[in-house]
């Protein structure tokens, strides 16, 4: 290339060489990550809405259920307290849904086209998008932590590294899962349908709103098979220095919750990457 350029400087002198593979992958991840963050931080209305919606949800549903909620295994546990970890997971889930539904249009008539045709791999594209969408959800969830005292928790009693671990893994898993759905379905109406028959019920049946009860074996089986249950469970554990109230977690042990949530994240990222290669 160099000799050729020297022989005839008129044509290829100005053309840049190919960047190294690793730096191309990192650049692809960085660009998608940055793009979602910049877009989110720019839209003030989105920031306000991202906080107001879960707050209203927490207050209305929490307020309504407060008088009837009574867990025999955990006397005195208030519903606002019980519901709080589930609200954090809901924020991460909603961010994942709304952050990945745009992939459908973006891929055919938008920015993603240029990333697909760019120097990075599809794996980097999935990682970058998942990182961007997760960051948006995590920022929202972090902001919502200002309401911790109203839920009856104390900041000093929170296991912050554990909370961060679960939320980060959960956000990555849900974002990658949303990406995989968007890529596979490739149609906004279809994605909306899946959202209302799979993702939202998945959150309701995650222990976010009510704990697993063996009175209904079918419901219990669904809840125990739902990866989001282990995420809610893990997030709940982070709010209690000792053990969370009996009967409010799905996994028998922290390690179980962590293994399922981490496994879900890895599986979702792998599925999204595979689909992204398979279905161009």
């Amino acid at each position: 290339m160099n000799t050729a350029t020297a022989a005839a400087p008129d044509t290829t002198a100005a053309h840049a060489p190919e960047p190294a593979r690793l730096s191309a992958e990192l650049a692809t991840i960085g660009v998608l990550w940055r793009r979602d963050l910049v877009r989110f931080l720019r839209q003030r209305s989105r920031l306000v809405g991202a906080l107001a919606q879960p707050l209203v949800f927490w207050l209305i549903i929490g307020g309504g259920m407060a008088s009837t909620f009574n867990l025999p295994t955990a006397e005195g546990l208030g519903y606002m307290e019980y519901f709080f970890p589930g609200i954090l997971v809901m924020m991460v889930l909603f961010a994942a849904i709304f952050g990945t539904i745009t992939v459908i249009e973006d891929r055919h008539e938008g920015f993603l086209q240029s990333v697909l045709a760019g120097p990075g791999s599809r794996g980097a594209l999935v990682l970058g998008k998942a990182a961007g969408v997760s960051s948006v959800g995590l920022l929202q969830a972090a902001t919502f932590l200002i309401f911790v005292p109203w839920a009856g928790f104390q900041y000093g009693a929170i296991d912050w590294p554990l909370l961060a671990t679960f939320l980060v893994l959960g956000a990555l898993g849900l974002s990658a899962f949303g990406f995989a759905l968007a890529w596979f379905i490739d149609n906004s109406q279809g994605y909306h349908a899946i959202m209302s028959i799979l993702l939202l019920p998945g959150w309701v049946l995650s222990g976010a709103m009510f704990p697993v009860s063996d009175k209904s074996p079918a419901l219990s089986a669904i809840m125990r098979g739902n990866p989001m249950s282990y995420l809610v469970s893990g997030v709940r554990r982070a709010f209690y220095v000792d053990a969370p109230p009996l009967g409010t977690t799905v996994g028998s042990h922290l390690a179980v919750d962590l293994a399922v949530v981490a496994g879900f994240a890895v599986a979702s990222l792998s599925l999204a990457t595979w689909l992204c290669y398979k279905r161009r």
Binding site: M1, A4, A13, H15, E18, G30, R35, A117, P119
Partner: protein
């Protein structure tokens, strides 16, 4: 590896793409020389956009061999993607971000060194004549401005080849001319090679060489001038009521091949200026509303070679985005 300067920059050989049992590209082969502006001309659904998608790695072909800058490569290989600039037919800018932000992201994506990014993006904004609107969200720019920005974006990593899919669709005549003046300047000043797919004959006429593509096959490949001279005679267009009957009448009386295109009768003959008075004489007053005479352009070449017009949808456009080859 030292690239042979005489060899083409890009060689595409026997490219085959299938959607299910339908063959969309059927053994397509062409080359793009260094510093050449090469066009793929064909109607919608002829396979040009599919070719574009294969080159940019968006679509995996069933078969085909590719050489780029002296090396054999896989279709859509990273070594190709890293060194070509791409202008998509559909918008590919982030509309919520500004022009400058879009270009900065593209510079980052393509590994432009941090120290060079700002200056290079500023220079490209100048080139696109958008320096004064660089910080407005793209959604506030006009269609023509956004197209200029797309072109600027494709150049951010100083590619050796720019691949464009219908780059001037939706542009008015003036913007069209300015875009092509700009492209020719880039070729002249930077030695850029350009591959453009289009269904517009006036766009193909700006290329050094063009490949006529119909139904996934290469019909002809030559310079626009050579293709034009390959079709002899004049093109006469007759406008009048009931074009089908008019065509039949002309065929019968004058023994020339006449077709109905867009409600007008189109016929080719050796000497149009001699034929026209005879036709006018032969028909009752008022039967003809207008008569038009011209030398065949690339649209007529395409028609002569394929029997189809460039506006024809030869068949439904390939549903690219749902493709599972």
């Amino acid at each position: 590896m030292a690239a042979d300067r005489g060899a083409p920059l890009l060689e595409v050989n026997d490219l085959i793409v299938r959607y299910g049992d339908r063959t969309v590209l059927d053994g397509l082969s062409f080359t793009v020389g260094r510093g050449e502006i090469f066009g793929l001309l064909g109607p919608n659904g002829s396979g040009k956009s599919t070719t574009f998608s294969v080159l940019t790695g968006l679509l995996a072909p069933a078969a085909g061999r590719f050489r780029f800058d002296g090396a054999d490569i896989e279709p859509g290989a990273r070594s190709l993607r890293a060194r070509i600039g791409v202008v998509f037919q559909k918008p590919s800018l982030d509309k919520s971000l500004s022009g400058r932000e879009n270009l900065m992201l593209a510079a980052r994506l393509h590994g432009v060194p941090r120290a060079d990014r700002r200056a290079r993006v500023a220079a490209l904004l100048e080139l696109a004549e958008l320096a004064d609107r660089a910080d407005e969200p793209v959604k506030k720019l006009s269609g023509g401005m956004a197209r200029r920005l797309e072109l600027a974006r494709s150049l951010v990593h100083e590619p050796i080849l720019v691949v464009m899919d219908e780059p001037t669709s939706g542009l008015d005549e003036r913007s069209f001319q300015r875009t092509w003046d700009r492209l020719e300047r880039l070729r002249r000043e930077r030695g850029l090679s350009i591959l453009v797919s289009t269904h517009r004959p006036e766009e193909a006429a700006r290329c050094d060489r063009i490949a006529l593509i119909d139904d996934g096959k290469l019909v002809a490949c030559d310079t626009p001038e050579a293709l034009r001279t390959s079709v002899s005679g004049d093109l006469v267009t007759l406008v009048g009521a009931d074009a089908e009957a008019l065509a039949a009448l002309v065929r019968e009386r004058f023994g020339v091949e006449a077709r109905v295109i867009d409600n007008a009768v189109s016929l080719r003959c050796d000497e149009g200026h001699a034929l026209i008075p005879r036709i006018v004489e032969a028909l009752p007053a008022g039967r003809l509303k207008a008569v038009h005479l011209e030398r065949p352009g690339l649209a007529e070449v395409f028609l002569a070679r394929t029997g189809r017009t460039l506006d024809d949808e030869g068949r439904p456009a390939a549903p690219l985005d749902r493709a599972t080859p």
